[in-house]
């Protein structure tokens, strides 16, 4: 009796709980099927390429796959002296060079070594051409072809490249150089990556702040104006947003260059003398101005969407309770816009960090960002180094995202 009361059943006698679970399961499966295309799309176009990129940054078998004899020798003699490798090592190298010549893999192997020891490609090509005709003792014979085959840095580089998995590209991306004595910090005139990382983040932060300061009043105006006027203003915000990036960048060049509209106007009005024209383009100023303009809508739109739904009665209530307008703004209005500020800042900052074409066109000498170097290595076929720099950028952004989550809370994000 007690049992019958506890277990509710459906009309056909199945337990209600199981029937419900089955029905819900069907709905869940259907829902899952609906999002499946999106999941697959994200997986194929986003996660797989990122995984591939991360893989690429630690894996390169260009040398390991084409120099089996040396790979074996390095395996057996992990503690060899790079300053003075023995005859067997040179014999293995000559054997591999001859093999590379036959299998046409000299370029691939040389390229891999060239990443850490510049000059290796032509050395490998030269060595490979001669390898078949060399007689023992191989050490003397190979050194006669090119004395650089005895360089300790080369042997260190080859030993490291004999393993397809390597952290080398991360070392290079943090300004380390392979020297005869091992990996060391690059000279003053060679260090560039960490500096550019720092600069990229600084400029992005600066642009985010400027965007916020400019966007806040505009978004507020948009949110409080009557609908018809707000629509007009909105079009003014969106119009540049819809215009091609290149067109907007070029427009800024026309405006700001030394012989440009703004300078001509100032000179024409007698405010500037012809010799004292302002340099506002092809430097940091140009980069910041053009990027701020391009990214501004990404700040305005989230702010607007948040501000639109803030009831004006809160501010009125604060004023009627005696708060000054500053206090009202600071304690009542501003906290309510935080989700919009957070979303806009995050969007603008992350977009700015990866910006490429604008700094390339208007950056000049000091407006280069880290993305320009990623592009350089992509086009010069060092994809592994490009991937390592990109992975570092990704890691830095994820860390910032995490800090942001701790400080602001990601659940408070509102994109509109």
């Amino acid at each position: 009796m007690a049992d019958a009361a506890q277990i509710l059943t459906t009309a056909d006698g199945r337990p209600l709980k199981a029937a419900l679970a089955a029905a819900q399961g069907r709905a869940k499966r259907r829902a899952f099927l609906l999002v499946l295309p999106l999941l697959l799309f994200v997986l194929l176009t986003f996660l797989v390429p990122i995984a591939y990129m991360l893989m690429r940054s630690v894996e390169h078998d260009g040398f390991a796959a084409s120099a089996p004899a040396l790979v074996e020798w390095f395996d057996e003699n992990p503690d060899f002296d790079p300053a003075n490798p023995p005859e067997e090592a040179f014999a293995a190298l000559v054997q591999d060079l001859a093999r590379m010549q036959e299998e046409r893999t000299t370029g691939i192997a040389g390229t891999r070594i060239n990443y850490s020891v510049p000059g290796s490609i032509s050395m490998f090509k030269k060595g490979a051409r001669e390898a078949a005709g060399l007689e023992p003792p191989y050490k003397e014979a190979l050194l006669a072809v090119d004395a650089n085959f005895g360089r300790p840095a080369l042997w260190r580089g080859m030993a490291s490249a004999s393993n397809a998995y390597t952290a080398e590209f991360y070392l290079v991306a943090s300004d380390r150089k392979l020297t005869d004595a091992g990996w060391a910090r690059g000279g003053d005139k060679e260090r560039i990556y960490l500096y550019l990382f720092g600069k990229t983040f600084m400029i992005s932060a600066l642009i985010t702040v400027i965007c916020l300061l400019l966007a806040f009043p505009v978004a507020h105006l948009l949110a409080t104006l009557p609908m018809s006027k707000a629509a007009l203003l909105m079009i003014l915000v969106l119009l540049p947003f819809w215009t091609s990036l290149l067109v907007r960048t070029t427009a800024w060049i026309v405006l700001l260059q030394e012989q440009g509209v703004v300078n001509n106007l100032l000179v024409g009005l007698g405010l500037l003398d012809d010799k004292g024209r302002l340099s506002m383009m092809y430097n940091m100023t140009g980069t910041v101005v053009a990027m701020t303009h391009v990214l501004l809508p990404f700040m305005i739109l989230p702010l607007y969407s948040v501000m639109r739904v803030i009831p004006p009665s809160y501010a009125r209530a604060a004023r009627s309770l005696g708060a000054t307008s500053w206090t009202t703004f600071r304690r009542v209005y501003l906290p309510q816009t935080l989700p919009g500020i957070a979303a806009g800042s995050l969007l603008v900052f992350i977009l700015a960090v990866g910006y490429y074409i604008t700094p390339a066109l208007v950056g000049g000498a000091d407006g280069q960002l880290i993305s320009n170097l990623i592009q350089f290595h992509m086009s010069k076929s060092n994809w592994s180094l490009a991937a390592a720099i990109a992975a570092m950028l990704l890691a830095a952004i994820l860390i910032l995202y995490w800090i942001y989550d701790r400080l602001v809370g990601i659940d408070r994000l509102k994109f509109g």
């Binding site: 390229t111 060679e190 000091d366």
Partner: protein, 355 residues
């Protein structure tokens, strides 16, 4: 549903195959147009093989990506000389048998007809272009005449435009410092030589406007942002010829190189691709290209008769990097040097810029 999917995929695939028998990837812009006029249209007219031209910022990058991912959609690509060597070394390109290239119009075998270095293992030259410097002759009627003048801020005051990159800029600086063209790469191969090049650049660093895209150089000159700039010679020629800009090219110390047609490994239409290359790099093909844009043909036989620009009156010879009078003090880019040192020197260059 699945069937339709397979069917549509197959149709799309067929569609592509039927749409173009040969897909050529080049740089777009005035250069791409010139190649369409000189190579693609006549080739289609003569052989009936459907050929299309697609553009890229630098075809070497997508070609490598395509071959590595095993999805090659391009049959012929137009890439820089150093890239033609590098990608060939990396096994990305198909070797080209030079003996199948057509003999010159005068019967000279192709191998002797092409200028030295114009045929490599995987590539055939389409033209020879050059890094020159040019000035606005309304500003300097007497004009700078040597590379040294480019670095002389006292004699020729005003801003300079330079390409933002190590390649061709370091060589240019060394020649400006008095290194003869024949010794430039020997000097640049030593650490002291690199120092010397950067020291020379230091003397004008504060007056340099750096450009990145080829079209920026003539634009900077036209806007009066710079009084002289390095540029690709074809761009200056086009601005002076077609738009009547008062630009004058200085040929002293120009740095030239071949541009190459290559076939990516696994190209879908290898046979037709090779036929296209044979057609385009024939005596007449290269001549036709030089009638469209001021880049020199790499075959001696193409220059046997006077080449007239497409406007019907301008004689091209004095505007081509390969003209004997322009070759008095000229440097051929060393692909070997840059394949070895591009990354290293570019890092150094970027660090120098940021200082």
């Amino acid at each position: 549903m699945k069937k339709t999917l397979i069917l549509t995929t197959a149709l799309v695939g067929l569609g592509f195959a039927a749409n173009a028998d040969v897909t050529v990837m080049s740089w777009g812009g005035a250069y791409g147009e010139a190649q369409t006029e000189a190579f693609v249209k006549p080739f289609m007219a003569e052989t009936g093989i459907k050929t299309i031209m697609v553009d890229s910022d630098n075809p070497a990058t997508p070609v490598k990506a395509m071959v590595e991912s095993g999805n090659v959609t391009v049959d012929v690509a137009n890439i820089e000389y150093a890239d033609a060597i590098r990608l060939c070394d990396e096994g990305i390109l198909e070797p080209i048998d030079a003996s199948t290239l057509p003999a010159g119009a005068d019967g000279t075998p192709a191998i002797d007809d092409f200028l030295p270095g114009a045929i490599t293992e995987c590539g055939v030259s389409t033209d020879i272009w050059s890094n020159v410097f040019a000035y606005d002759n309304t500003k300097f009627p007497e004009g700078p005449t040597t590379v040294a003048d480019f670095f002389d801020l006292e004699k020729f005051p005003g801003k300079r435009g330079l390409k933002k990159g190590a390649k061709a800029v370091l060589e240019f600086a060394l020649m400006g410092d008095g290194v003869p063209a024949s010794e430039v790469y020997d000097v640049l191969s030593t650490p002291e030589g690199v120092e010397r090049a950067f020291a020379k650049l230091d003397t004008i660093k504060k007056d340099v406007v750096w450009w990145e895209a080829g079209s920026q150089a003539p634009q900077l000159l036209a806007d009066g942002e710079v009084v002289m700039t390095t540029a690709y010679n074809g761009r200056i020629f086009a601005a002076a010829q077609n738009e009547g800009k008062p630009f004058q090219i200085v040929w002293d110390g120009h740095i030239y190189e071949n541009e190459m047609f290559v076939i990516p490994k696994g190209a879908p239409n290898m046979e037709q691709a090779m036929e296209f290359i044979r057609f385009a790099t024939s005596t007449e093909g290269l001549r036709a290209s030089a009638q469209q844009i001021s880049y020199g043909p790499a075959r001696k036989s193409s220059m046997a008769e006077e080449i007239i620009y497409k406007d019907g009156k301008t004689v091209m010879a004095p505007h081509l990097p390969t003209a004997p009078e322009n070759m008095a003090n000229a440097l051929e880019t060393s692909a070997d040097f840059w394949v070895d040192h591009d990354s290293e020197l570019n890092e150094r260059f970027q660090a120098w810029l940021a200082q």
